[in-house]
């Protein structure tokens, strides 16, 4: 069957405003979700789960959050790692200090704390714009790094400053095998992705984009920059915080602030750049790309070397990784500044017309 929308008439605005107006898309996405929930756990082995799928999901969630701030509201942030850290440590403290704190609640509370901190560091955005703001957000990054290293209370007085959690469970479902973890993350991510999508397509979403595209005009039609920017910071940091909590609880199990260093912030930024600013879908593309690439290179380069009969050391591989990474980022910015998501939609446009382009 061709990829077509003709013959699909919208008889109500509801129908016209759904996330995927085209039937084929709806089918495709449902199929995808089904695969993610059923097929992947059946097929993927433990390594794939732990090293690729789980990190991918969690980082995709973080990227999603960041994308709301940067992609939709146009406020550059280099402090994402910090907000993840806040989420993680807050959730940790709730779990160790309150007995029988349910995991989900802990995660959400972590997100809330992150949101508060996010708003706090978002306040400058009301006066500071663009690059200046970008650098200002680094303050959040370094301050939080320091706070979690120094202030013993956050780490429950662990001598080394490293904290750990275990025996996770939700409603009696103990999450310990990678498969449980995967499904749990997948569930969380799916829900958040849906909620986020709803937000960006309702009026608050339009306010964010209005501020991003032309803040003066936005003000003139009655949008309050304060409200728009701070909600963006809050929502973004909330999601990022939850992602951070997942990263610590589900993926690492034990972590120190270095797990949420500035490199993480950049990594997330790259995800949304490569994936596509202002696109929910893009966050996932970007995350997939950046999670898989280094692992792939790690495996492929030595193999490639051995094919041509020279032995490539791990040092060279990771240097090469740096280079390829940098090169790819530049490449994307030059070829498609709107990222994979745009390529995707262009592809769809083409497909829609295929095989008769005129």
């Amino acid at each position: 069957m061709f990829y077509r929308e003709n013959g699909q008439f919208k008889t109500s605005y509801r129908a016209d405003q759904q996330i995927f107006p085209i039937a084929q898309d709806r089918i495709a996405i449902l199929a995808l979700i089904a695969v993610a929930f059923v097929a992947v756990p059946l097929l993927a082995d433990e390594y794939l789960m732990r090293a690729i799928f789980i990190p991918f999901l969690i980082l995709a969630l973080a990227a999603l959050g960041l994308n709301i701030l940067v992609g939709y509201c146009g406020q550059i942030s280099l402090g994402t790692g910090a907000f993840m850290a806040v989420g993680a440590y807050a959730a940790y403290n709730f779990t160790v200090r309150i007995d029988g704190m349910p995991l989900i609640v802990a995660l959400l509370l972590g997100g809330l704390c992150a949101a508060v901190v996010g708003v706090l560091f978002g306040i400058p955005s009301l006066r500071i714009k663009g690059l200046y703001l970008a650098v200002a957000t680094l303050a959040a990054q370094f301050f939080c790094d320091w706070a979690f290293l120094r202030i013993k209370w956050f780490t429950n007085d662990s001598a080394s400053g490293s904290v750990n959690v275990s025996n996770l469970s939700v409603f009696g479902w103990t999450i310990d095998t990678p498969y449980d973890k995967y499904l749990f993350c997948l569930g969380v991510v799916t829900v958040f992705a849906l909620l986020a999508k709803n937000l960006v397509r309702s009026h608050v979403g339009r306010e964010w984009m209005a501020i991003r595209d032309m803040d003066v005009a936005a003000a003139v039609i009655g949008i309050r920059p304060v409200y728009a920017k701070l909600t963006a910071f809050a929502v973004s940091s909330f999601i990022v915080g939850v992602a951070g909590a997942l990263w610590g609880f589900v993926h690492l199990g034990a972590w120190e602030p270095a797990a949420f260093s500035i490199d993480r912030s950049f990594q997330l930024l790259f995800m949304i750049i490569i994936g596509g600013l202002g696109s929910i879908m893009g966050s996932f593309f970007g995350a997939a790309f950046i999670v898989v690439l280094p692992i792939f290179l790690n495996q492929a380069l030595p193999a490639l070397g051995s094919l041509v009969g020279l032995n490539i050391g791990t040092a060279f591989v990771s240097h090469a990784e740096f280079m390829i990474f940098g090169a790819l980022i530049v490449f994307f910015l030059i070829v498609e500044p709107h990222g994979l998501a745009r390529l995707w939609s262009i592809g769809k446009e083409k497909l829609r017309l295929w095989p008769f382009p005129h």
């Binding site: 500071i128 690059l131 970008a134 303050a139 040092a315 940098g326 030059i334």
Partner: protein
Amino acid sequence: MGFFIETTIGGLMSGMLYSLVALGFVLIFKASGVFNFAQGAMVLFAALAMARFAEWFPALLGFDSKLLANLLAFAAALAVMVAVAWLIERLVLGKLVNQEGITLLMATLGITYFLDGFGQTLFGSDIYKIDIGLPKDPLFLLESVFQGGVLVNKEDLFAAAIAAALVIALSIFFQFTGTGRALRAVADDHQAAQSIGIPLSRVWVIVWSVAGFTALVAGIIWGSKLGVQFSLSLLALKALPVVILGGLTSVPGAIIGGLILGVGEKLSEVFLGPHIGGGIEIWFGYVLVLFVLLVRPQGLFGEKIIDRV
């Protein structure tokens, strides 16, 4: 009291070094509107080149005059940096004309990664030595006045002197040479500059080369202080608040911003740090900048931004 002075001097010294890196940022931002995150990576790259050439040349050409080795290495490293500048213009910026600032910032982040990887592939990731004969031993002043005297690090003293010289040289270059004028013209208005026949791409190559030069100098000084090693590229993070504090477009801003931050950091770390746990200088600079920006969103010396409709 003596100790306070000592700390302040120490702060000024390291401040001078920050501004050296910050200078690179400002030059490039002025002339091409690019916020060059790669400055740190360029410092590392330049330093690596310098260090390794200084090792290789004597070995290759079979002489052992350290001076000669350093001079040759310096020349070679400079050539490398110019080549890098040229490539960046050709392969990256030339293709990103008229993109928004954020896109360009991203591009330079990409360049950062590339240079980090490339530099270490070419020159190795061990820790290397740059020895341009800066004295390492401390210097004690006013010992009569304060018990223990005021310690000044000779090496820093030289470094600061070099940095100052560089700044002066650059300002002369900008004020009095034809190229300098062209650069300023471009800085003021790209289109206008183009319309009177100043070739943008050439100007950019020049600016990036100059930035490469400052990177090299910074690299040599830091390198001889700390040894040439991957961590040098993290200097960018030290210079960022300096640039922003000074205002992206102002050379004096970079210098004064550097000094302010240098002093602020050291004083806070030494006098405030012990009470709240130490290790605060890393964020102190940024938080300081944050508050300055709240009062002056364009930094201390930046041009004021007015929204027009």
